[in-house]
């Protein structure tokens, strides 16, 4: 990725294609801008999913709507049986939240596994979910927890179950004129949990990863095993019916369609899934 030997002029820099920039002061203003600009527009918060794509010209939005400083969307709040998180809460906010560490440790721990400190200072929970990358860590944690996402559009707010949110590669249930404003996850203070991530180097994306919650609420989700973050339904069923960790893990690749790329073949990913799911269940139940 860094194969540039000389830097003699600006043209050699990796910079995005030109775009129009609009800054939203509120969720309503962002929605109005989305309505105005339609398909041409992309929302940006921390920009740590979108800007790298724009720099490589894999994304070329005509209008960038900056919601990064919309006030009142960075909270992490106790709401009885759930913790509610504003879409602009950053990975750094999640990993350092005493409330999350106590009530939803899987989410705080997973946030700490994303990228590196600099990335976690910028990237937001809402951004990583709305981006919908199957290789991202936090979507799997929210899936495993059975979270609820709140989208706001011109007609008001609606709730979307995490399991219904991811629709295809980098595609979500968000309409073109909606923004993600809140994520809610159940408190699982007493539950066993585990997060497993296999990569070759620090800060790399997961080649395969697993987020798991067991005891009471059972949810197991897979990273990078298909075109979206995935629930491992067959594994969850096996765990609920009392199967051993190895037996449950044996069906880890059921219903998946893992990619083959420079990091791993599809076959190797299937193998990794069974190993990591077994480790996750063992750790979560130990």
């Amino acid at each position: 990725m860094c194969g540039r030997s000389r830097r003699t002029d600006r043209a050699e820099l990796v910079i995005p294609a030109a775009f129009e920039y609009a800054r939203a002061g509120s969720a309503e203003e962002a929605i109005a801008l989305l309505v105005e600009h339609g398909d041409e527009a992309k929302l940006v918060a921390g920009g740590h999913s979108l800007l790298p794509l724009m720099k490589l010209r894999l994304a070329i939005p005509g209008v960038l709507i900056d919601i990064g400083r919309v006030p009142g969307l960075s909270y992490i709040e106790d709401r009885g049986d759930e913790i509610a998180i504003g879409a602009l809460a950053r990975h750094h906010d999640l990993e350092t939240s005493a409330l999350l560490k106590e009530q939803v440790p899987l989410l705080a721990h997973t946030a700490h596994q994303v990228g590196d400190p600099q990335v976690r200072h910028r990237g937001t929970l809402g951004g990583t979910l709305a981006h919908g990358d199957p290789a991202s860590d936090l979507p799997a944690a929210v899936l495993a927890l059975g979270g609820t996402l709140v989208a706001q559009g011109p007609q008001g707010a609606r709730e979307i179950a995490a399991v219904d949110f991811f629709r295809g590669f980098l595609e979500t249930a968000l309409a073109a004129d909606e923004i993600l404003v809140e994520v809610r996850v159940p408190k699982v203070a007493g539950a066993g949990w585990s997060f497993q991530k296999f990569n070759r180097r620090a800060q790399d994306w997961a080649i395969v990863g697993v987020a798991a919650v067991v005891n009471g609420h059972t949810g197991i989700a897979l990273i990078n095993m298909g075109s979206t973050p995935l629930r491992a339904g067959a594994v969850e069923e096996a765990v609920r019916s009392g199967a051993s960790a190895s037996d449950a893990a044996a069906v880890a690749d059921h219903g998946t369609d893992p990619p083959s790329d420079i990091n791993a073949s599809s076959e190797f990913r299937r193998h990794l899934a069974t190993v990591l799911v077994r480790r996750a269940i063992e750790e979560a139940t130990s």
């Binding site: 860094c2 910079i15 294609a17 920009g47 900056d66 990064g68 990228g115 400190p117 800060q203």
Partner: protein
């Protein structure tokens, strides 16, 4: 063009910038602060790390317009009166925590942010805390020693910032 107003190393600057201008370009080309290096250009290597409102960020992956109204500190802004080295810079010198030096400004800024965030740091904490910064010379051992030395000598840091 968008008008931005930023405080960089304690000085207020206002400029009309193109929306796609990266923060690192703004610092290096508009303000002439070339202490911040560009390495990979793809938010992997950390050479371009600066402090944005006190926290480490990779300035190749922040738009200058996103930094509007922010306080930024670059490597040039760390030293004290009459060019006195910041304790982290001093520790890097003391422990020979650089070889070619290209990653050093980013390493130092990442370390300053890490030390500000963590009350206690052991070797693993330093290594994980600097995982966003690559040293192509692989000179990590002395970098870790330098940051650990700072972690064990908070008095000097507090003195510097007061």
């Amino acid at each position: 063009m968008v008008l931005i107003s930023v405080e960089v190393n304690g000085s207020r600057h206002q400029h009309e910038v193109e929306p796609r201008l990266l923060l690192v370009q703004y610092l290096r080309e508009t303000l002439g602060l070339t202490g911040t290096n560009i390495g990979c250009d793809t938010s992997s290597c950390g050479a371009c790390t600066v402090l944005l409102n006190g926290e480490s960020v990779k300035s190749c992956t922040v738009l200058a317009v996103q930094a509007d109204e922010a306080e930024i500190v670059t490597i040039e802004g760390l030293s004290g009166p009459e060019g006195a080295l910041h304790p982290v810079q001093e520790a890097f010198r003391e422990h020979h925590a650089l070889q070619c030096g290209y990653c050093t400004p980013g390493m130092v800024m990442a370390a300053v942010s890490l030390l500000a965030e963590e009350d206690t740091l052991d070797e693993l904490g330093v290594r994980e805390g600097l995982e966003g910064n690559l040293c192509r010379c692989t000179g990590y051992n002395n970098i870790v020693k330098a940051v650990l030395a700072c972690a064990g000598d908070r008095g000097a840091l507090t003195e510097q910032s007061s």
